[in-house]
């Protein structure tokens, strides 16, 4: 068990370093940091001094090491656009994105899993066919279109929910939360649904297809041949076997939610990290882009690690030392 954890940790760090390398390359070689930071009439000599002071003439590996150390401490330099510390900008907007992502994830899981189980168990029922068709549309429609549609119906026509912004938020330490005010909660509804809808359809289809595959296995056939009740077969055996591979995908989707918040935040003018990232791309604000990249990579890596550990807990074959792919019969 310990070997497994250590191995995964080492892998995670390797990925982070690789991403860090990309971020570093962006940071230092795309455009000229000095040009972006100083005015037009700064003399060449002053620029040279600045370059020296910032250590931009040092050998690349040294700069990279410095970059890594700084990143770990959350120091990402100054934004090209606003000249504020990038770290602080991101931190300000982090709670908004995380709360939104959390609500979207909860929404997609609470509806996606049961719907998937239902359509997997009773695939020929009319409700299943309807859900299948609806899910295909849900997967195809771009997130921003769904958001706009929801805004049209609930904000413009019905006028019951806000179409932009976060409402009022409450400050707890450095975290600003929208959970504790009525307007904050109202503002969360449409964006959460928008963000979570894609994941919901994905989860539903995944659970369904896993369920269908599990129902065709020999051990289900054998369970039936032993005369076990429908409940025992469907929920005792089939469900558990279905959910095990679903865990991985769901975990990965959580990472995707954080990344896709970009679009939803733009549609609803939600003051989160995603919106910040889009603005940084529009203005070629490299430090912000690099920092966002690293942060997202960090989230993904952490989530992957947690999912792998969960997998370990749930599947007894892994505890005996089989690798994941061997356990799945590959």
């Amino acid at each position: 068990m310990l070997a497994f954890i250590l191995r995964r940790l080492a892998q995670s760090i390797a990925v982070l370093l690789a991403v860090g390398l990309v971020a570093f390359t962006l940071f230092h070689y795309v455009g000229d940091p000095i040009n972006a930071m100083v005015g037009q009439d700064t003399s060449m000599q002053e620029r040279e001094e600045l370059r020296q002071r910032l250590g931009l003439n040092d050998p690349a590996p040294l700069q990279f090491a410095r970059f890594v150390i700084n990143s770990v401490q959350g120091k990402f330099g100054l934004s090209y656009r606003t000249s504020e510390p990038v770290g602080r900008m991101i931190l300000e907007r982090l709670p908004a994105t995380l709360e939104l992502a959390f609500c979207a994830a909860v929404f997609s899981l609470c509806f996606g899993v049961p719907m998937g189980v239902w359509t997997g168990l009773y695939p020929k029922h009319w409700t299943s066919r309807f859900l299948q068709a609806a899910s295909l549309i849900g997967v195809s429609l771009p997130t921003f279109l769904i958001g706009i549609l929801l805004i049209m119906v609930f904000a413009v026509i019905l006028g019951v929910l806000p179409s932009f912004g976060r409402g009022n938020s409450v400050q707890i330490g450095w975290w600003s939360s929208g959970f504790f005010t009525f307007s904050g909660l109202k503002a969360l509804i449409l964006p959460s649904i928008t963000l979570g809808l894609f994941q919901l359809t994905l989860i539903m289809r995944l659970v369904r297809s896993e369920m269908l595959e599990v129902m065709r296995t020999d051990y289900i056939k054998f369970a039936r041949a032993r005369g076990l009740s429908n409940r025992a077969v469907n929920f005792g055996h089939a469900l558990k076997n279905t959910l095990v591979p679903v865990i991985t995908i769901v975990g990965l989707q959580l990472g995707a939610i954080i990344a896709f918040s970009i679009v939803t935040e733009t549609v609803f003018s939600w003051p989160g990290m995603g919106q910040l990232f889009v603005q940084s791309v529009q203005f070629a604000d490299i430090p912000v882009m690099a920092a966002y990249l690293l942060l997202v990579a960090f989230f993904f890596v952490v989530i992957n690690l947690v999912v792998d550990l969960l997998y370990y807990v749930v599947d007894p074959r892994l505890r005996s030392g089989m690798t994941t792919s061997a356990a799945r019969g590959h």
């Binding site: 991403v19 295909l136 771009p142 706009i148 413009v156 889009v278 791309v281 529009q282 997202v296």
Partner: protein
């Protein structure tokens, strides 16, 4: 004779049967073909040229669509106009055209890139292979949208804003193409590894035949099947990604708008009640992507040996 034979075999095949018997897929294919036709024939079919500033007239601005029967609606602008007097219907036609061009070009680009890298990675092996695969792994940790955004941002950082607008089309195609190569590369590499171990490859090497020739002649045909399936599914994704990028404001600019750009411009005026500028392009995009996805879904099921 051989051709007639082929057609007869195709008509008798499982795939054609499964195609015919699924009404939805037939409808989806027809819709897709119609949309393609509309898009590519836009210069001929469109009633106006909305992106030629010379033809615009501000007095035509903000006319509502004809079917609402409101004041100001006009059969020359059946779907209404935007705040600069541009005809929505024509904008949609040209916009769809751009969206499709980007989608197809980006898919082709990623396919070629992916196949090439997959072939190299699989055949050469060693450090090159390890490097390419590590790169693939790292890239796969991020959603394609993020990668495309990043690439676009980098390009913006490297060239001036004005030049960027001029070549925006190519930048977008490149960005989207670069974010989707991985799946092709992996599939192709897998096939190459399988073929590499086979005896005829070793025999050919002994004779001195060029390995590239072997790979292209033998591996490629085997692998085109799954590659085409991936490509079909990816076209829908590519179109979606382009629409999203344009919606976010980093895709095609408003001088050369795709459906995504039109939707963005439309949302800005939505709250004042001008709904037609956002809805019609939105509906068009939705129909297009749903139809392409339906086709891709069906194709994937039809070619999947496990489900037969």
């Amino acid at each position: 004779m051989a051709f007639v034979d082929l057609v007869r075999r195709a008509a008798d095949s499982d795939i054609w049967y499964s195609f015919k018997s699924s009404r939805i897929v037939v409808v989806a294919t027809v819709v897709t073909l119609l949309t393609f036709a509309m898009a590519f024939l836009a210069p001929i079919l469109a009633p106006h040229t909305p992106f030629d500033p010379a033809t615009l007239n501000l007095s035509d601005a903000l006319k509502p669509p004809v079917l609402t029967g409101e004041d100001g609606s006009d059969w020359t602008f059946p779907l209404g106009t935007d705040e600069q007097g541009r005809d929505v219907l024509s904008s949609i036609m040209y916009g769809t055209r751009l969206s499709l061009v980007v989608g197809i070009a980006a898919t082709l680009f990623s396919m070629v890139l992916g196949i090439a890298l997959g072939l190299v990675s699989g055949y050469v092996g060693g450090a090159v292979d390890a490097f390419i695969m590590r790169l693939a792994d790292v890239q796969l940790t991020f959603p394609a949208l993020l990668v495309a955004l990043l690439i676009d941002g980098v390009v913006r950082g490297l060239i001036s804003v004005q030049r960027h607008d001029e070549i925006a089309l190519y930048v977008i195609i490149g960005a989207i193409g670069l974010s989707f190569w991985v799946q092709y590369a992996r599939t192709v590499r897998g096939s190459v590894l399988v073929e590499k171990g086979k005896e005829y490859v070793q025999a050919a090497r002994v004779i001195g035949l060029s390995p590239v020739l072997i790979m292209v002649r033998h591996v490629l045909p085997n692998v085109m099947g799954p590659v085409l399936v991936i490509a079909t599914i990816n076209i829908g994704l590519a179109v979606l990604t382009e629409a999203t990028l344009s919606f976010l404001g980093v895709g095609l600019p408003s001088t050369q708008p795709s459906l995504g750009t039109l939707i963005r411009l439309g949302q800005e005026v939505l709250l004042s009640g001008t709904w037609w500028i956002v809805i019609f392009p939105g509906v068009t995009l939705a129909i297009l992507v749903v139809a392409v996805n339906l086709m891709g879904d069906w194709l994937r099921d039809a070619l999947n040996p496990k489900l037969r």
